[in-house]
Subunit: 328 residues, 2 copies
DNA sequence: CGCCACTATGACAACGTTGTCTTCCGGAAG
DNA sequence: CTTCCGGAAGACAACGTTGTCATAGTGGCG
């Protein structure tokens, strides 16, 4: 900046005025400064600017499990859209379902003085956030609630969706329904299990623990669950997949089975409608989830001090065929 | 920091020493400082630190077309992995295939003094980058080359892959092959068109311009192309999809057709193997693309001054069935 | 006992900006 | 001709750190 000032023959402050479009700069001077800026390729240092102004840094942090997972990348996109409309950049990080990593990312973002944080929490302990939140960094939890603190949260109706799925399958004659989901430590998986049990109750089916497998959805784990629950005598005739990862691996594991059990997936996923039979899903609007959370965050950034809100977005059963096949 | 110093009864510099794990601090003093930090919830301001040290900001920028697109989100993930291993955070942005937006994002990132930029360019003019690169911000182009400057680039073998696809289809008896891709202004689409033409030549098929449609792959555009090229008398018997978006929309448009033409997609995509028939693809390793670009970027960040490199990653034809059906 | 080396700590400047206050100048009003 | 006012520009401090240098105390050694 001082180089620009020297070249333009003005003071450093005048350069500042020009780059900030402040009034009270003579047009001729402004032009000289502009030319110098152009010539030197000057770009103002936002870090220094934010330091001096003590204002917002114009960034927000987004922490998800895995930015590569289509579910989270759609979320990322939705968040980015809102952030852009508020003139903010987005720092992203993948927690890899590891609460230490989540904490590390959050604290790193705080040290960078992001204006706010959106987090799909991996852990259940969020006491570490209290000082940060007290220091004025708003935090909104999405898809999963905070563990042990009160904070803004945007969720989907995990319970209701899974209940609906079970009832739907029961309505089509299924009595032995399996439930495959991620580890029960993950909030959404736990809630969906609750929904599964409640659905069984409402459908008048006895809940059979042996038909439930909850493990990290690797191809191997899902494959093994398929062999255990969905083949041989006494196999379940229908299955509820606890999320899109489970569903995809499940479909692959079942690809060469002679008869595919009825199936409903929590989470919609691309091409679900083009499989044979098309996969019925409990769909929810991932973009809406991201939008709602980001809007809430920016309200906080802009000073909204009301009591923390909890938003639960609706889900919708999309019947495409796979959930409507009769038990064999 | 001065609050911490006051509370611990030391100077501000000693606090700095403690938070930086510098030696020559008495253990008792360090402990008092730590306690004060804990009590006040102090977190050092990385912006100020970076300003003072004049060193790297510990961030890199990644600009893609759309972080929500599975192709780019996988790329994002790969880049993030490398960045994490180098202790950097990633700022992401979607250019939405708009070169003005691309420019805006790049300059914004530069103003934030990112240590380097990875960009899937939307435009073909990159002169605006020259001052930034001269100022020391390394830039690596990925998936598409820079327009009018020399810079590090990591690409995939668009030409070879498409040639292979056409030859493969020809080998299975197809003579009338359609090509559906994104707008020809997009580098990859253009290259794949070149590959398509070259493939026709090598397969001894006359290239028929009327079988080529290159437009932004919206469901509507692809649907219209399907009606034009793949139905009625004189329809093509096979089709090459220029990227995963085209392929997905194409599959949906063809879902209710009585006979599906043979098909090969450039880009692999999730569940391609589970469709009926499974979709043959020109696969390339998206993670490898991200890794290679990020590794290259960090080499530059760490001072590698060698001449700009151009890396072309191989592609692989994965025959799954859809490319092997005979013409009807 | 004086000097040195070493440890522990602090004072101060500087990083690149911008907010505040001041200065300077020319012209209008009294 | 003085006074005042507004426009244009600069001097300087401050944002929160850290690098450099200085200082004070402490113990060993000649």
């Amino acid at each position: 900046m001082s180089d620009v000032a020297r070249l333009a023959g003005v003071s450093i402050k005048t350069v500042s005025r020009v780059v900030n479009d402040e009034p009270a700069v003579h047009p001729d001077t402004a032009e000289r400064v502009m030319a110098a800026i152009e010539q030197l390729g000057f770009r103002r240092n936002l870090g220094a600017r934010n330091l001096r102004r003590g204002s917002t840094t114009g960034t927000i942090g987004l922490i998800v499990e895995d930015v590569g997972n289509p579910f989270y990348s759609e979320l990322n996109r939705a968040v980015e859209k809102i952030a852009t409309s508020f003139g903010r950049q987005v720092l992203t990080g993948s927690s890899e379902e590891n609460s230490d990593r989540e904490r590390e990312l959050v604290l790193e973002f705080c040290a960078r003085r992001v204006d706010g944080i959106l987090v799909v929490p991996a852990g259940m302990q969020h006491g570490y956030l209290v000082p940060e939140m007290r220091a004025g960094t708003p935090v909104v939890f999405l898809d999963r609630p905070a563990g042990d603190i009160v904070a803004d949260t945007v969720l989907v109706d995990n319970l209701g969706g899974t209940i609906e799925a079970v009832i739907h399958l029961a309505k089509h004659g299924h009595r032995r329904i399996a439930f495959l989901a991620d580890s029960p430590e993950i909030y959404t998986a736990g809630e969906r299990l609750r929904g599964f049990r409640e659905g069984c109750v409402r459908a008048g089916i006895s809940y059979d623990e042996r038909l439930v497998v909850m493990r990290t959805p690797t191809p191997e784990n899902v494959g093994e669950a398929v062999r255990t629950l969905l083949t041989g005598p006494g196999a379940a005739t229908a299955v509820v997949a606890g999320n899109n990862r489970v569903a995809v691996h499940l479909l692959r594991a079942l690809a060469h089975a002679e008869k595919r059990p009825a199936m409903i997936s929590f989470d919609d996923f691309e091409l679900a409608d083009l499989l044979d039979p098309p996969v019925s899903v409990i769909a929810h609007d991932v973009s809406a989830l991201g939008h709602a959370a980001a809007e809430l965050l920016f309200a906080r950034v802009q000073g909204d001090q009301s009591t923390p809100r909890k938003v639960v977005l609706p889900v919708q059963l999309v019947a495409r065929g796979s959930g409507e096949v009769a038990p064999s």
